[in-house]
Every structure is written in structure tokens, then in C-alpha cells.
Amino acid sequence: MATAVIDIDFEQIPEQLSGLHKYTKALVLVRLRGRPIGQSTFTITDGRICGTELRDRLLNIGAMPYWEQYLHDYLAWDPAHETGFVPPTATIAICTRDRPEDLARCLQVISRLPDTGQEVLVIDNCPSTDATYDIVAGQQGVRYVREDRPGLNNARNRALRESSHEIIAFVDDDAAPDPGWLAALLQNFEDPLVYCVTGLTMPLELETDAQEMHERWSPFGRGYKRRVFDGVHVNPLAVGQVGAGANMAIRRRVLAELGPFDEALDAGTITRSGGDTEMFTRILINGFRIVYEPKALCWHRHRRTWKELRQMFYGHGVGVYAFLTRALFIQGELDSPKIAWDWFRYDQLPLLVRSLFGRPSSRPLDLILAELRGCLAGPWAYRTSRKNSGRIQR
């Protein structure tokens, strides 16, 4: 069972979609002039999606944005460009570790982005071979930096230090940014209090059960509405809706003003994730802002095997609890246990109950248990990881 991922422009809706015999379902991303405006899932029968159904549903999604866009064109008025803001130049940073094929594909996509003077930086994190170096050496205009201390957050910090520009846009090595991605991220840095911009992440493919379940129960996308998270108005610890580190741009000055990414967190350490979440929280705690910008589209290839998926859920549990532990004990945020409780009470527990009673379309039990096991391991993992990284940070 697999799901086809289809990208359709609202102004060119095809009469019908056929030749999809491999798939039982289709996830359609709808765009208007390249801008993502919505998504919908279709059932495929006999390798086809019926044209009427496709049109009806896409019209539902696209009618309002279409007319709004029409009006803006008629008026030659664009809210995003009203003030004549000229976006800054950026550095694109790819943090990678022993995934040369993925990286090669990623670099190829990035080389096709419109040139606005951006710098491309590959941070090779604690490599076991020279494969990554060899790939980067063959690429024009890509800078290679080796970071020998393992850990995604070490690599991110290195990227901030090495960058030649004030804004650093991070891409995962298993991701493929859309042509308008970088410009869409940068447009949001006009407000000097915006320290981070996150984008919309969509699945590159949904070929296996694991990938489908990933997209279903832990999607990276956060909807099609731009949102501004202001640290003085939202709870800085509840950052689930902000976005993900797989598609984010941040100002270099966070390094000097708010401190580096916490080396005890995220991939490559025993806490496995949570490094991006923790940085979002720190930005908000200090009264700065994060923008979620759905125009900044990036495609991400989810892990293919069930084992990797289970590990991801486990890692998510560890990371969130590690981050909450840090918030409570290092930053003294007394709200932290309440966030953990709310997550359990309003999300994890209902899912667990549904799954135990075998309700239809409930989350697979092993994924839920993996996440819960991760949560239990989180606080201790953070303690150990801090000892390992052996450095006290803010």
C-alpha cells in the first residue's frame, strides 16, 4: 500500500489523473502561482482519480485564495512587499553525517535554486569515511566544513560560526527545497524581532507503510496559514505548532545573544531530538518572534522502514522530555511539568486508549509505546548527555 504524492497548480487542474496503479491513495498538494495553498487526500480506483472529484475538492481549497490573489493582482498590491523591504543574503547550511547519496541529491536541488548570492555550506558531522568530502569537492561553489564533535547541534553551532551572512537557512540532507523556498523564508526577516522563520515541510514520497504512518501521525507541515509566534503572547514552552528544524532559518546573532544550540540535545547524542524545539523556546522566552511561513516549501524524504519510524517516535519522546527537563532545571520554567502533563492527558492518553480498544484508524500501539518509553527515558538521558558534553551553557 502506498500513497502517491502529487503537486498540482490550481490554475492547471488536469482533466483526470491516471497511471497510478501502484498506489491506493494520493496526497495532493495544491498551489497557486507556486504558493502552497492546501492539501487533500484522494482514493485511487483502477489507477485513476476521477476528474470531477478532483476539481470539486480543489475548487473548495483554492477558490478563496484564487480570488484573493486575483484582487491583489488587479490592485497591484502585495502585503508582503508593501514596505519595499530588501531581504538579506543568506547562507544555506546542510548538516550531514554519513549519508552521501542523500547529500548528493540535496546539493543538486540546491544548485538549481535562484541565485540571490547565497552561500552553501556543508557541515560534515563526525564522518566515518571521506565520501561526503568527495561529493562536496565535486560541487562548484559549495563550502565544506568538518565538525568532529558528534551531534546535530554541534553541527548547527558550527554552521552559525562559519556562515558569512547574518541569516542561516538549515536544510536536512534528506530534503529537497522548492525553488521559492529561500526567498519566502527571507522575506519574513523585516521585523527585527523575528529571530527565526520556519517553513512548510511536505513528504517527498510515501512509498512504504512507515512513510505513510510518519506523515499521518507526525507530519512536519503546520498548515497553510502564516503565523507569527510572539514570545510575549504565546506560551514559549508549547512550541509544537512552530515548525521543525528540518526547515528553518535563524539569525546568526542568536549565538551571541541567546547562546548556542544545546550540545546535550538532538541527533547524535542520547537525547536524539529536541534541539530545534529548545532553540524555539529560548527565542520566545527572550521575547523574540518566530514566523511560520507556508510559502517556504521543502520536501522531505521520510525514513522508509518501520524500525526507523519506531526509533523516530522513541527519539521524539526522549527529545521532548529532555528539553522539558532542561527548561525546568536549567531555565527554572515552572510551567514545564504542566506542558508534559497536557501532552499526556490530551494527546498521548486518548491515542493510547483508542489503540488499546482497537478503534479503527488508531495510531499503531508500538509507536505509542515507543514514544512513551522515550518520555520516561528523556530526563535521565538529558542528565547523562550534559555530563558527556561536559559544558555548562546558559
Binding site: A63, W67, Y70, L71, W77, E82, L193, D230, V232, I285
Partner: protein, 428 residues
């Protein structure tokens, strides 16, 4: 560096009160300006200073002419007027003693004034916190940032309360014509001047490059005192300009039925001895909540206290709740005799309509397309008259759907393929 020919002589006027170090930082920053120093003077008015401000000023050697005035403490408005009376420039730039201008600050103000007469240049005043991260400071910085983010848009319709006395400039003649600051309205003297400038049809303009970093040092407790003074100030402002009364948040106080503001009202107007005691307890609680990092509770209590102290200020001016109701009801007829409204027909093209707004600067407009009414932009109390730059943004937001419906009805839009059936909402 700009060409020196025909540049005006300007005066930077700074009122100060017991802030020697901060003032020195302001003066140092003024000593680094790109504007020719022989064409600028700095007038400092020491308002009842008891620290060593005077010694510092006498010893100060800057590249510009420094004029030092002193007065017994009478408030910033009087000090600014005194400074203006002595100043010799044809343009006045007012800044506060906690503002640190960037090197092109004066240049940015002057460049704006060279584009036309009768202009009021609003400088950019971002808050600089220098590592302070207490809840109140962050809230304050966010508030200021939003103000300037809004004013930055070309379509922004300026209001009398967009005038912030910490960083703005105007022609000396205009300042004298409207009569300077009114010192009898403490804490609201800038809004009050903004209102008279609005009535004088001054052209308000935001100057994003005239940046002065605002080294704000207020804390939550000080801000509550300020809320009290603002309550009094608003009432006095409403005596001076009765037409402003409906624009105050206060004007909806009877409709606001949430529990906390009800309590604040009853305490402020009836039992204010009890109210003050509770408020001072809660104020101490704020400190505890901040230490426990319980943000949302802190914010709710802080906003409640602000409401309370604001109403206490109102009470001290008007005595009773009935007095307040009467005060608001005595608000004036909304439109003024010279409030011209025009009929604006968009069928001749948007450029023409914009041009007409720029030429006539009406207070309001009834917008139509041929004979179809699209909407009404009524005259707005305390706001600038309409101009061309307002039009497209209003049509794209507030009037979007009626405008689009009219366009479709009139078939002013290109014929649409069958693919895009007009949604029912537009066919009504």
C-alpha cells in the same frame, strides 16, 4: 554625506531630568552625526536636575554648538517649549535623554523635510534592552515594535497617537503656529500635540532610517504609576479635545463585561482604599510570579493592575462613575464642519482615484464603481485625511469582497474560463 548647499540650520532639543550618564550617551551619539556640525545645535533643557548633569554639560566638548538651559522641575513639556523658544534652527528635532541616535539620524530627519513643507517626521524608536529579559521589558519592546511595524506601511493612516515625543521632527514655524506643547496635560502632551497637528493638516510621515535606540529603563511597578497618570491624562485630553472621547478605550468600559475589569471598576470608583491595598499586594505577587517564571498568570495580573490604575486616574479626575458616564455622553457630534466627504468612482481607473485623493485630501470618501456602492471610508476622529496610498490597501482588505463582487458584476475582470466558477459568495 549630503551636499551642503541650501541645507537648513537645525536644532536638536532634549529635555532631561537626573539622567547624566544616559544624556552623555545621547550627546556622544549626536557628536557622530553625518550632518554638518556647523549647521546644527543641541539644546539641552535640564528640568530640575539634582545630579551632576549641569557639571557634565558645562564640561562637555562636542563638535556641535551646545546650548544649556535650566529650569526648576516643571515636566518635559515645559522643558521642550523652553528649549524651542531659545532654539535658532528652522527645523526642530525632539529626542529624549534615553535615546541613542544612529550616525545618519539628523540627515534622515532633514532629508524628509526637504521633500515638502508642513511635515511631521516620526522617527524610528526601537527599544534597546541590553540583556534585560524581565517580562515587562519584553512586553514593552514588543508593543513598540508593533507600533513602528504598522507605521512603516505606506498605507498606514496616521493617528494623533502616532506622535511619540521621544523622536520626532517638525518645522520651527509649524511648532510655533500650533503653539507648542501643552504642559497642563501630563503624560499625554505628545498625543495632545499630535491632535493639534492633525487639525492643522500637518503631513505625518514615518522615517524608518531616523533610528534612535530607546534605552528604556522602566519596570512593571513604574509602568503601573504611569497607567494611573495616563488615566488622568486621557481625561484632560478629552476636556481639551472633546471629539476624542469616543476614541479612548475607556469609551467602551460599560460594555466590557469580563469579571476582572468589573472588579477593577468597582474597586477604583467605590472602594479605592481597599482597591489600592489589593493592588499593592498583587504588585508584590508579580515579583514572585516572575521568579517562578509563570508568564501567563503574571500577564493576566499585570493587565488587571494596569486597568485598575488607569481607572483610578480617571476616578481622581472625574470623582464618580456617573461622572465618567456623563463625561463620555457629553462627547461631541462626531464630524466637524470642514469634514469633506467625496464620492469616489473607481471606474475611471485606480490611478485617477488615487490622484484625486492626493489632490483633495478629503476626510472621508464614499467609494463606488459606476453606480454600485462599494463602501464608505468615514471621517475618522484624530486621523489624517485620506490620501492616495490608503486606497489600494483598503480595497484589498476591509472592502475586498464588496469590491470584488462589483468587479465581477460589472465584468470588469477578464472573462473567466469555466474552470473557475464564481463562488456563490460573490454572486449575492
Amino acid at each position: 554625506m549630503i551636499a551642503k548647499d541650501h541645507l537648513p540650520f537645525i536644532s536638536v532639543i532634549i529635555p532631561t531630568h537626573n539622567r547624566r550618564a544616559s544624556l552623555e550617551r545621547t550627546l556622544r551619539a549626536l557628536g557622530r552625526q553625518s550632518y554638518p556640525f556647523d549647521l546644527m545645535e543641541v539644546v539641552v533643557v535640564a528640568d530640575g536636575c539634582q545630579d551632576d548633569t549641569s557639571e557634565m554639560l558645562r564640561a562637555y566638548a562636542g563638535p556641535f554648538r551646545l546650548c544649556i538651559l535650566t529650569q526648576p522641575q516643571q515636566g518635559a513639556a515645559t522643558a521642550r517649549n523652553y528649549g524651542a523658544a531659545t532654539a535658532g534652527g528652522s527645523i526642530f528635532i525632539f529626542i529624549d535623554d534615553d535615546v541613542e541616535p544612529v550616525p545618519r539620524f539628523v540627515e534622515a530627519h532633514v532629508s524628509a523635510h526637504r521633500t515638502g513643507k508642513g511635515l511631521v517626521g516620526m522617527g524610528n524608536l526601537p527599544v534597546e534592552l541590553a540583556c534585560r529579559t524581565d517580562f515587562f521589558s519584553l512586553l514593552l519592546r514588543s508593543w513598540w515594535a508593533n507600533q513602528f511595524q504598522e507605521m512603516r506601511k505606506p498605507s498606514h493612516r496616521f493617528l494623533y497617537r502616532n506622535l511619540f515625543s521621544g523622536n520626532f521632527s517638525l518645522e520651527a514655524d509649524l511648532f510655533r503656529k500650533v503653539g507648542g506643547f501643552d504642559p497642563s496635560i501630563p503624560r499625554r502632551e505628545d498625543y495632545e500635540l499630535g491632535m493639534r497637528l492633525m487639525k492643522a493638516d500637518a503631513k505625518f510621515m514615518f522615517l524608518p532610517n531616523a533610528v534612535g535606540y530607546h534605552h528604556e529603563v522602566a519596570d512593571a511597578k513604574g509602568n503601573l504609576t504611569r497607567a494611573y497618570q495616563e488615566g488622568r491624562g486621557d481625561i484632560l485630553l478629552g476636556f481639551r479635545h472633546p471629539e476624542l472621547r469616543p476614541t479612548f478605550n475607556l469609551s467602551r468600559f460599560q460594555e466590557v463585561s469580563n469579571f476582572r475589569s468589573r472588579i477593577a471598576q468597582v474597586l477604583a470608583f467605590k472602594y479605592n482604599a481597599l482597591g489600592d491595598a489589593i493592588a499593592s499586594l498583587l504588585c508584590r505577587l508579580l515579583v514572585v510570579l516572575e521568579r517562578l517564571r509563570l508568564r501567563s498568570l503574571w500577564q493576566r495580573i499585570f493587565q488587571g493592575l494596569r486597568t485598575y490604575w488607569y481607572l483610578r486616574g480617571v476616578k481622581d479626575e472625574l470623582r464618580t462613575r456617573m461622572g465618567l458616564i456623563k463625561y463620555l455622553q457629553e462627547g461631541p457630534a462626531h464630524s466637524q464642519p470642514d469634514d469633506v466627504e467625496i464620492d469616489l468612482d473607481l471606474s475611471q481607473g485606480l490611478e485617477l482615484a488615487e490622484h484625486r485623493l492626493d489632490e483633495e485630501r478629503p476626510a472621508g470618501a464614499r467609494i463606488s464603481y459606476e453606480h454600485n456602492v462599494i463602501g464608505h471610508l468615514p471621517p475618522q476622529v484624530g486621523a489624517e485625511r485620506l490620501k492616495g496610498a490608503h486606497l489600494r490597501a483598503v480595497l484589498a482588505t476591509d472592502l475586498a469582497w464588496p469590491f470584488l463582487r462589483t468587479l465581477i458584476m460589472k465584468q470588469a475582470v477578464e472573462p473567466l474560463g469555466p474552470k473557475f466558477n464564481i463562488p456563490t459568495i460573490f454572486r449575492r
